[in-house]
């Protein structure tokens, strides 16, 4: 015998939830719609594999896909060891009184705005890379990847720490009871158990790296060609959107940014589902 107000409230909450879902789906739908003329003419695959030469009528996004892959994967390479090591510290290796403050410092680090990483990167790191390697302008895949790696490390570290926290304490107590030292406990008990959580963290951090705009926009040079080495400038899908947004609304160039948007959306969606799938599999195990 639910009273009217109850029902109304429940409907209201449901409506909010549905609205939020609608927004999520709506974003994808809108972008597909706006990019449609280009998709129809070119075919989605052609777009993906063509290079970007607007003066010759080629509006493909391959160089940008390559740029995104190069910069994000390289940044993961930088961030993974840093994050793993830091999470080890916070979860076992550092002496007990240090662990709490360490974790709080890392949490604070996640709040540093991206634009500031880019700002300092331009003035501090770019000239350094240019002079150290004696090659190029300093604005290249390497610079962007280094800064991006440092930016996603605190977030990745927190994901790993969460994974370690979720280990049942009985495992840890058992290891202690058997006389394991800090590092032994970490390597032989904690790491294998938290494997899924660590993979989880890596995928989520990759998502953040792929979705970042400013660092690549400010530090990677934005050239529209597939980068041939880490010292080459490159453009990511995200930076491409920021650069071309300024152009003519009906031009094929403009529509190409919706293709970028669709690629970005779909790739982060795939990563999200992958994480959820792995999590469900994991639940079956423990």
């Amino acid at each position: 015998m639910k009273n009217l107000r109850e029902q109304a409230a429940e409907r209201a909450f449901l409506l909010s939830a549905l609205a939020s879902c609608a927004i999520t789906a709506g974003i994808l739908v809108f972008m597909v719609l706006m990019g449609l003329p280009l998709l129809r003419e070119g075919g989605f695959l052609a777009l993906l594999l063509n290079s970007w030469e607007p003066y010759r009528g080629a509006f493909g996004v391959l160089p940008m896909v390559a740029g995104t892959l190069a910069i994000s994967l390289l940044s993961l390479l930088v961030a993974f060891p840093l994050s793993l090591g830091c999470s080890f510290l916070t979860s076992g290796i550092a002496p007990k009184p240090l662990r709490g403050p360490l974790r709080r410092i890392i949490e604070l680090m996640t709040g540093i705005p991206t634009v500031i990483y880019g700002f300092v990167g331009i003035f501090l790191l770019v000239p350094l890379i240019r002079e150290f390697f004696r090659h190029g302008s300093g604005m290249c895949v390497l610079t962007a990847a280094l800064v991006l790696g440092v930016m996603i490390s605190p977030t990745m570290t927190l994901f790993f720490c969460d994974a370690f926290d979720r280990i049942p304490s009985s495992y840890l107590k058992a290891a202690d009871a058997l006389g394991a030292g800090r590092a032994q406990k970490l390597i032989h008990v904690m790491l294998p158990t938290a494997k899924k959580g660590i993979l989880n963290g890596v995928i989520l951090a990759l998502g953040r790296a792929v979705g970042d705009t400013l660092i690549a926009l400010m530090l990677a040079g934005n050239s529209a060609r597939v980068p041939e080495s880490v010292m080459d400038p490159a453009r990511t899908l995200t930076a491409h959107i920021a650069l071309v947004i300024a152009a003519d609304y009906e031009s094929p160039e403009f529509r190409s940014i919706f293709t970028c948007g669709v690629v970005l959306y779909l790739s982060t969606m795939v990563m999200t589902f992958l994480v959820r799938y792995l999590a469900r599999r994991g639940e079956g195990n423990i």
């Binding site: 009273n3 109850e6 909450f13 939830a17 974003i27 972008m31 090591g85 360490l102 490390s153 999200t272």
Partner: protein, 294 residues
């Protein structure tokens, strides 16, 4: 023997990683402070206009950060205003009403929403603005309204997740007590559950505020411009602090402007650090307050 080496290496590795990360970030902060500390005075914000007159809106500020700071503050307020009702209601629905498959489906949607790159949200906002401009009203274009709505989409997942987690974290006995005494579900939610999870919800809101303060990708596509003065109306373009920093970094016209850019970065950093610490403090403080109040 071998085992000992592996352990030693692990310890070394961990400390090396920790120190590298900490020093990288310290270098970043130190560099900013070094280059920007001389810019840290009222002139940074108010330029050559006397601060009091600027604050009372009697005189315009041209060479200072005041319009950008004001723009950011207004933007944050609006975005949070849109996001809170929808976010909290959705969180309540997820925690209290949804079951089984519906919950899993909704969960999936919000995970996807949380993962969408900010520039894609900005692109959506921009495209919507153009669409509305063409088909609804000539007066709508990229502006404060569109920016704040787009930004609210960005932070919606934060609020939904923290509300859901906070509500679900309430122990079973507290959940059932009011119901056992005859309260309706709604009364239970509003009189017992929400107040108990307030600290969690609040810290989620503060995190969302922090996200709004630092975001650049969304606003640069939906209405932030290089020069606009104080935001006049919802349909006007505006300045914002992170966009201002980005703009200066790529096109500063003289060393004074660059120093202002460093100053602006320090300001933004303090703002985000303060918000973050506030979130932490709220979580700790409210918990302490609610648990230890007699």
């Amino acid at each position: 023997m071998k085992r000992g080496i592996l352990e030693k290496l692990t310890v070394w590795f961990s400390w090396a990683a920790g120190l590298t990360l900490l020093s990288a970030v310290s270098v970043l902060l130190g560099y900013l402070l070094l280059k920007g500390h001389e810019a840290l005075n009222p002139a940074l914000i108010f330029g050559e206009t006397p601060p009091l007159r600027a604050l009372l809106l009697r005189e315009r500020v041209f060479d200072g950060l005041f319009p950008a700071v004001a723009g950011t503050l207004v933007l944050i307020t609006l975005s949070i205003a849109w996001a809170i009702p929808v976010g909290i209601s959705t969180g309540i629905y997820l925690a209290e009403y949804a079951g089984g498959r519906v919950k899993r489906a909704l969960d999936a949607f919000f995970d996807v929403l949380a993962g969408i790159p900010s520039i894609v949200v900005g692109l959506f906002g921009f495209a919507s603005a153009v669409f509305l401009h063409r088909h609804f009203s000539e007066r709508i274009g990229p502006c404060l309204l569109i920016s704040s709505i787009a930004l609210s989409f960005l932070v919606l997942p934060y609020i939904i997740r923290t509300t859901q987690a906070a509500l679900e974290g309430i122990p079973r006995d507290i959940r059932l007590t009011a119901l056992a005494l005859g309260a309706t579900r709604l009364q239970n939610i509003f009189l017992v559950l929400l107040p108990k999870s307030l600290s969690g919800i609040m810290s989620g809101i503060v995190l969302a505020i922090g996200r709004c303060a630092e975001d650049t990708a969304v606003i640069m596509l939906t209405g932030a411009v290089a020069s606009a003065g104080l935001p006049r109306s919802l349909l006007s373009q505006y300045e914002a602090l992170p966009f201002h920093i980005y703009y200066i970094s790529s096109q500063y016209s003289d060393p004074a402007e660059l120093t202002r850019g460093y100053g602006a970065s320090i300001l933004l950093l303090f703002l985000c650090a303060a918000l973050f610490s506030a979130a932490y403090g709220i979580r700790k403080g409210l918990t302490h307050f609610t648990l230890y109040r007699p």
